[in-house]
């Protein structure tokens, strides 16, 4: 079975936050961007919107740092999942993660992070522009390659 990963293309993001709502609804049962595992950042002056979430590191520092083995590998999806019953809310993982994608939830006393919704990430389902997709983890460069291939091809035709 192919491993898949979230692939985010900020060029396509309009900043609508459908992804944040889908994420919080799936995980918390309410529409609540404040509890979303994926966040969209607005760079106002630059006119850019950039969604950002856990990249599911192979060598996951959050997992290594956890003193109670509350973060485990989901072998089916490659995601690093929080076992809520084990998590003691010590927040060491939030410090260990270089990307800031593990965060503490004061309402539950546990940490939260992206778990790829068990293989059907709702953010990608909800995204209206294809800025967030869930694709072959070994070919995330495919779209960009295709774009450059088109350009190369055009140059060839122009020269001919």
């Amino acid at each position: 079975m192919l491993m898949k990963s979230l692939y985010i293309n900020p060029e396509k993001c309009t900043g609508c936050l459908q992804c944040e709502m889908a994420c919080s609804f799936e995980n918390e049962g309410v529409f609540n961007p404040a509890r979303s595992r994926i966040k969209v950042f607005t760079f106002h002056d630059a006119g850019r919107f950039v969604p950002y979430t856990c990249t599911q590191c192979d060598e996951a520092w959050c997992m290594k740092a956890c003193p109670v083995e509350a973060i485990v590998l989901n072998a089916a999806t490659g995601s690093k999942d929080i076992i809520n019953d084990r998590c003691v809310g010590c927040k060491v993982c939030t410090i260990a993660c270089p990307f800031g994608t593990v965060n503490y939830n004061s309402a539950s006393g546990k940490v939260i992070k992206c778990d790829l919704c068990g293989g059907n990430p709702q953010c990608a389902q909800a995204c209206p522009t294809g800025a967030i997709t869930y694709i072959d983890a070994d070919a995330t460069g495919l779209e960009r390659m295709r774009l450059w291939a088109t350009k190369t091809d055009t140059a060839h035709h122009a020269a001919a």
Partner: protein, 618 residues
């Protein structure tokens, strides 16, 4: 549910903040946002109140779908009595603050009284504080926004704010949220500033839940998102060109009001169109438009993010305006452009930035400048009045200069801040004011689009396209094509649009969905989320009830049927070119029928029968 069922009442005079349960009986009759807040307003405020006095109230209200995943479900409205029109004011805005308010647990905030000195309201879920704003007063919206974020050390706060225009009494001031979205029309910002309320800052973390049937709701939401995506207007036209898709279309129809509505076609329309915003500038090779943007939850994303050419005279020495911000939308582009005869895209973009930065309605503002230009053209006002500015039609330099003055409430900008009606009266030429009930026209000439004449004349907040956008039918064929030059059938069309629009404006959704959606698409989403039975018929009835309630307030405020009219220029002077050549606005052919269908008297008053039919308050 979907309503949080809690409202905040903030008394600015004595600093009291109280929590009340939402009146659910009213919610079943008025839905939310525009309708429900108007019900509260009518119950609490004397219609003859001085709009800028402490007895006027100002309500910020969300709809039941605000903050949910329903596409475009991020809207909120500001309801108050307008200082510009003396009618009910209801201005709707997108961006993110509506959803923040809902996420903090509030359906609406009712502001009453007047703070003894400048304040802002800080809402962090249940924690609500009235905080001093002496350091924010005198600052632009953009400056105040930055200062509030810094003070609370929280980039996720959402802010609604008034600018220096409102502080200085400009009668068409807006309440700007998220830097460049606005509750723009009818001077709601002027009322907010009159209460010494500079800003409302909200951080909501509770989430929006209590959906009646979550599975059905998500199924409806997903299906209706697809309808928007598959529709040519909402799926392609609006994301690509924004509302500016209309500039060339309306110009070709001969319905683009030009130079204070003296003409109906603008020779420079293309230069300021949605298409032009995509063209690369010769100077820096970048287009005006950087990208499109969505408000909260919106899968259409018509918003424009633009830059001004750094070498353009308006910003040449002002690097603070070199970054991206909210770009031109059609109504603003028209008022600032064709209506003033200015065809300089960079100038219009910069002026639009200033409208956002200091919070004033670009429609009313551009239209007022256009009237001033006509007065200048006639020699009624001179450089002596303008402070040396040559206020000729077509002058981008003059437009830029008077905008900078209006933003700060200085010099001739103070006169422009009166709005077109009061300014034209001041100079002895009321006939040059292109207004209804004191509010300036938007971008459709009713000689070429007849339904819009009836729309403007009967709108409950003065001239406005967003009360019944019959352009959809008369120009775009949505839901069915009607002849824009024909008056027959327009009273029926206008009423259907007015009622449906009032319902949409009360739901938390954006009116722009209705290019693709009808109540058939919207009612099932409301019904899946909200307790009660929300059929298409009920939504339409709620819309009609809201329309009649607003009308009732206006009549009690002292307006009469005689106010349902248009400027003489549109009733007497025929269009000079284009498909509408020889036509005037045929209001007299439509208004009596409209009154009759509304169940009003021949002079436009509500009858007791109509009141009881909609169960309006006595």
């Amino acid at each position: 549910m979907a309503w949080t069922k809690q409202i905040l009442r903030v008394n600015l005079t004595n600093g009291d903040v109280s929590v009340e349960p939402l009146n659910m009986g009213w919610a079943q009759e008025y839905l939310g946002q525009r309708g429900l807040a108007t019900r509260y307003f009518v119950a609490e405020v004397d219609p003859t109140v001085d709009a800028l006095g402490p007895d006027n109230k100002l309500i910020m209200a969300t709809g039941p779908l605000t903050g949910t995943m329903a596409s475009t479900g991020g809207r909120y409205s500001v309801i108050t009595k307008s200082p510009l029109t003396g009618t009910i004011a209801c201005s709707n805005s997108g961006g993110f603050i509506g959803a923040a308010l809902k996420n903090a647990g509030w359906d609406m905030i009712i502001f009453e009284g007047k703070a003894p000195s400048p304040v802002y309201l800080y809402v962090e879920d249940d924690k609500v504080e009235i905080l001093p704003a002496d350091d924010l007063w005198g600052k632009s919206v953009w400056e105040a926004d930055e200062l509030i974020h810094k003070k609370h050390q929280d980039p996720q706060i959402r802010i609604s704010c008034v600018g220096r225009a409102a502080e200085s009494g400009c009668l068409f001031s807006a309440i700007v949220n998220d830097l460049h979205r606005a509750a723009g029309r009818s001077g709601v910002g002027t009322v907010m500033a009159s209460k010494n309320l500079k800003a409302v800052a909200v951080r909501g973390t509770k989430g929006v839940g209590n959906i009646k049937d979550p599975i059905r709701f998500m199924r409806e939401v997903t299906a209706q998102k697809k309808v928007l995506a598959d529709n040519a207007v909402t799926g392609q036209g609006l994301p690509t060109y924004g509302t500016q898709v209309l500039m060339n279309v309306i110009n070709e129809m001969g319905a683009l009001p030009t130079r204070n509505m003296r003409e109906v076609k603008f020779e420079g329309a293309h230069s300021v169109s949605g298409e032009a915003m995509h063209e690369k500038r010769k100077t820096d090779g970048k287009p005006n438009l950087t990208r499109n943007a969505g408000c909260f939850g919106c899968t259409i994303a018509c918003g424009r993010i633009s830059t001004v050419d750094q070498g353009h005279f308006s910003v040449a020495n002002k690097p603070e305006y070199w970054g991206n911000s909210g770009g031109l939308e059609y109504e603003a582009a028209w008022a600032l452009g064709p209506d003033t005869g200015v065809d300089d895209l960079d100038a219009l973009t910069y002026v639009n930035f200033l409208c956002n930065e200091d919070g004033f309605d670009p429609i009313s503002y551009g239209s007022t400048v256009a009237a001033a230009m006509e007065l200048y053209d006639m020699g009624v006002i001179t450089k002596e009045d303008t402070g040396g500015i040559e206020l000729t039609f077509g002058s981008a330099e003059a437009l830029v200069k008077v905008t900078e003055l209006t933003a700060k409430g200085e010099g001739f900008g103070k006169i422009l801040g009166l709005g077109s009606k009061r300014m034209c009266e001041k100079y002895g030429h009321p006939e040059l004011s292109m207004t209804v009930k004191g509010q300036e026209f938007p971008a459709y000439d009713p000689r070429g689009i007849q339904g819009m004449g009836l729309t403007y004349a009967t709108s409950n907040r003065g001239a406005c396209h967003l009360r019944s956008y019959t352009v959809a039918s008369e120009v775009l064929g949505i839901p069915v094509k009607t002849d824009p030059l024909e008056t027959d059938g327009k009273p029926e069309l206008v009423i259907a649009f007015q009622d449906a629009t009032a319902a949409v404006d009360s739901s938390g959704l954006c009116l722009f969905t209705t290019f693709a959606w009808s109540l058939e698409n919207i009612a099932p989403q409301i019904d899946a989320a909200c307790e009660g039975d929300w059929s298409v018929e009920k939504c339409a009835e709620v819309g009609a009830r809201i329309w009649n309630l607003e009308r009732d307030f206006n009549m009690r405020a002292g307006l009469t049927g005689a106010d349902d009219t248009l400027p003489k220029r549109l009733l007497k002077d025929a269009a000079n070119v284009g498909p509408a050549q020889g036509k005037v606005a045929g209001l007299d052919l439509m208004l009596p029928k409209y009154y009759e269908l509304r169940g009003w008297t021949t002079d436009g008053q509500l009858t007791d029968e109509t009141r009881s039919r909609y169960r309006l308050p006595a």
